[in-house]
């Protein structure tokens, strides 16, 4: 199995530690499902299906089945509970003392990006270079840079090079609709708000990037105009 791996370890003061070992196919950039058998009802494609979902034949939502084992651990936890998280990749580790909603958000972001949802495909190259707990500024630079690089590799006709990032804007608009659908789906199964709020935090960026592009990425302009 040619994979790259991430281990997310959540340490709590009172509760037991929670650990997820993610294996991501190096070529397809798809995460291996952590519990491939017996999916819950809420993971069915038709259960609160996203408004922009283009899948027809799948029985289950590809994002929901990958999130299922994570939601089963965090569905009854509060968003503002503190946790110490360590993310171990093949060659380094990153740790952070933060709220549960932020740390789960980082994990969900990686899992969503490496799931077989047609609206998260554009995020897969970024997932290959996953940056846990990235700031908005880091994510703006990463999202726009990765997009321009994908245009370089995938666009044979250089005249149609999308230098204004119009297609990226549209991708994030569609991602916002997916986030809304997922939050709606999760609300039907979770008891507390940590997991839903983790999606909400991811969605903040999905909503902000189109505006940021409209304003010529002014937040990060200073880095490139020295």
């Amino acid at each position: 199995m040619d994979t790259f791996n991430y281990t997310y370890s959540f340490c709590f003061n009172k509760d037991e530690d929670i650990v997820f070992n993610l294996a991501i196919d190096k070529h397809k950039l798809l995460v291996y499902n952590l519990s491939p058998d017996n999916h819950s009802e809420w993971t069915r494609l038709e259960h609160n299906k996203c408004k922009n979902c283009s899948l027809l034949d799948e029985e289950y939502c590809p994002v929901a089945i990958n999130l299922e084992p994570i939601i089963s651990k965090f569905g009854n936890k509060r968003s503002y509970d503190q946790t110490n998280v360590e993310v171990q990749s093949f060659d380094r580790s990153t740790s952070c003392e933060t709220t549960l909603q932020r740390s789960v958000s980082s994990l969900l972001g990686l899992v969503m990006a490496t799931s077989a949802c047609p609206h998260t495909v554009f995020l897969r190259p970024m997932a290959r270079f996953h940056l846990p707990f990235a700031t908005d500024e880091e994510t703006i630079v990463r999202a726009s840079s990765f997009y321009l690089l994908s245009e370089y590799f995938n666009n044979d006709n250089q005249n149609e090079f999308d230098i204004k990032l119009e297609k990226l804007k549209e991708s994030y608009r569609q991602l916002h609709i997916v986030n809304e659908g997922l939050a709606e789906r999760l609300r039907t199964v979770v008891e507390k708000d940590a997991a839903v709020n983790a999606i909400i935090l991811l969605d903040l960026f999905a909503k902000a990037l189109p505006y940021s592009i409209d304003e010529a990425l002014s937040e990060v302009n200073y880095i490139f105009t020295q």
Partner: protein
């Protein structure tokens, strides 16, 4: 200008809301990560609208907005929450008397529209109260004058008695005047 307070323990959400609301030229925004700090501020400054998260570490949104209601009853109060249960909804309606319960993730356009309609509703309430006060003041004034007139009529019945003819004209009776 409308003065609006935003309260959420998650700074990223607060910043995103702040960015969104600041695009509205007639909104003056103050943001708070702590509900306790927000209450302290509301004790000294009047706000038109409060938008609060529901689940917060110091106190939940219903408790926070109930305290705000006691301080500023004319304010509009809204809850913005990712996850809610029936208790939260009942508390929000019965205790905090909120205007709307908005779910996260929000749609920018819908959220601003909801806030605008809350502010319009508040304007109507304030205007209604002002008109009701005016009507009450005028009714009091009218009563005072009526009482004075009745006193005067009692004291001087002939001075204010008017003799109407059948066709609606006033009959000037010299004899009556002389009396």
């Amino acid at each position: 200008m409308y003065r609006i307070m935003l309260v959420d323990d998650e700074p990223n959400i607060l910043n995103a809301l702040n960015r969104l609301f600041k695009r509205e030229k007639d909104f003056e925004i103050e943001i708070f990560e702590s509900a306790k700090e927000a209450i302290k501020r509301a004790q000294v400054t009047v706000f038109d609208l409060f938008l609060s998260d529901y689940r917060m570490p110091e106190m939940n949104g219903v408790k926070f907005l109930s305290e705000i209601r006691a301080l500023q009853s004319e304010s509009m109060r809204l809850i913005l929450s990712g996850h809610t249960d029936l208790d939260a909804l009942l508390g929000a309606i019965n205790q905090a008397q909120i205007y709307r319960f908005v779910t996260k993730p929000w749609n920018d356009y819908d959220l601003i529209s909801t806030v605008r309609s809350a502010l319009e509703y508040r304007n109507i309430l304030v205007e209604n109260r002002r008109l009701a006060d005016t009507v009450r003041d005028q009714a009091e004034e009218l009563n005072k004058r009526k009482t004075a007139l009745e006193k005067f009529q009692k004291a001087h019945p002939t001075l204010v008695a008017i003799n109407w003819a059948e066709d609606g004209s006033i009959v000037l009776d010299d004899q009556l005047i002389r009396k």
